[in-house]
């Protein structure tokens, strides 16, 4: 399913400069430079242990003093220096970082949500979208935030992405998260990602998307909303359209599932099947609500995140 809380769009006049990896700070201005102590965690500055691809996108193009603004794969939605716990959060199809704004409000300031910031929407509006799963997983693994303890959270189809990212991190020698939490999505071997939705013609595509109920009326009333959201939605559907589950070893980290009691499309057996994907503790939580738990029950989800976030970690930062 999908909600349009991402914003994809045509490049327009925005100028995207894909500088690739290793743009050396301070030759480019880090967005968090003013933040006291930021070097300890800032990935731009290398303090967060991993260097990231630091794409640069110009915002407000078309005006004289064009501004170069760095973007990143994960946006901390509160001050990570003040946090004692961290959540790395992957949204539903079409979703942007603000999909987790309500959750971050509930969790802050002691827990920081690092929200996935995919191109083609919101803070990276105008950048080309990504539709190839493997290279994207490589990039996300390389940019994965390193603070601990870290809970990896996947919402809707972001749950499948989170599962694949956890495996990538675990098997490629990256620092893996301390726990995995998945909401509103079946286990990877029961998931049936849409195979051809991303190829539907405009009217059919939107009638499918709108049928999921994730588009606020105020948005649908705007004449330009399709232009804004369609590229990111199509890209995210295409990203998972070729996914077929392959047997892999269970993950050595705790998994917690969250399901809405009134979710019309989620089968309990498919949620419980997540149990097979961990060698660690497994918890299954059903809460009041439908499919859109982050939007309608952020406080309840936040409570479960707090309960699932490891208090301490033995792994080095």
């Amino acid at each position: 399913m999908s909600r349009i809380d991402g914003a994809g769009g045509p490049p327009q006049r925005l100028i995207q400069r894909a500088l690739g990896a290793g743009s050396d700070h301070p030759s480019m201005r880090c967005p968090f430079l003013e933040h006291a102590g930021h070097r300890r965690w800032c990935q731009h500055c290398g303090g967060g242990a991993g260097r990231v691809n630091w794409g640069h996108v110009s915002v407000g193009a078309g005006t004289e003093d064009e501004q170069v603004r760095p973007t990143d794969w994960f946006i901390p939605l509160s001050d990570p220096d003040r946090a004692v716990g961290h959540v790395c959060a992957l949204p539903q199809a079409g979703g942007g970082a603000t999909a987790f704004a309500a959750l971050a409000d509930e969790l802050g300031p002691d827990i920081t949500v690092w929200a996935l910031n995919l191109p083609g929407r919101q803070a990276r509006f105008g950048e080309p979208t990504r539709t190839d799963l493997d290279p994207l997983l490589d990039d996300l693994a390389g940019a994965f935030p390193h603070p601990a303890p870290m809970l990896l959270f996947g919402y809707c189809s972001g749950a499948l992405l989170a599962f694949l990212l956890a495996h990538r991190l675990h098997h490629h020698g990256h620092r893996a998260p301390d726990a995995l939490m998945v909401a509103s999505y079946p286990a990877p071997d029961r998931a049936e990602p849409a195979r051809s939705t991303h190829r539907l013609p405009g009217e059919q595509f939107w009638s499918e998307i709108l049928s999921y109920g994730g588009v606020p009326e105020r948005i649908a009333a705007q004449s330009d909303f399709r232009e804004i959201f369609e590229p990111a939605l199509r890209a995210d559907y295409e990203l998972l359209s070729g996914y077929h589950h392959r047997d892999v070893a269970p993950l050595p980290l705790p998994i917690t599932t969250i399901a809405g009691a009134a979710d019309p499309v989620l089968r309990t057996a498919d949620v419980d099947r997540w149990r097979a994907h961990t060698t660690g503790p497994f918890r299954s939580e059903t809460i009041d609500g439908d499919h859109w738990l982050l939007e309608n029950s952020p406080r309840r989800v936040a409570d479960l995140v707090r309960a699932s976030l490891p208090r301490t970690t033995t792994a080095p930062r």
Binding site: D5, H25, G60, D65, T98
Partner: protein
């Protein structure tokens, strides 16, 4: 923010800030403005007389850049994370090294 010297920017800023705290250089998306919230802001902006469409809020995702796009020009500075708060002076760079970004703001 020096917003008081620029009534247009102040008016735009007010439409956002009454819903979530942000300063003129914070990206709407880093400040937690969802698409639904932006649609509400859009209605307010139009009520205030600004001619603006939803896609403008995505193309110009800070109060300052949006204001500039609406003709309320002002030199702009880089987007700042929301927790820096609105009370700080904009762009007081602590240790920037070479001031590469100086063209973008009143450094």
């Amino acid at each position: 923010m020096n917003a008081g010297r620029n009534p247009g920017l102040t008016g735009v800023h007010a439409c956002f800030a009454r819903r979530r705290a942000l300063d003129a250089d914070t990206s709407f998306f880093e400040a937690g403005f969802t698409s639904a919230l932006l649609a509400e802001v859009l209605e307010d902006l139009r009520d205030e007389g600004f001619t603006v469409s939803l896609v403008d809020l995505y193309r110009y995702p800070t109060v300052r850049s949006l204001s500039a796009s609406l003709g309320f020009g002002e030199r702009r500075s880089p987007a700042a994370p929301p927790w820096l708060g609105a009370s700080r002076n904009p762009v007081t760079v602590l240790s920037p090294g070479p001031s590469i970004g100086s063209a973008d703001g009143p450094v």
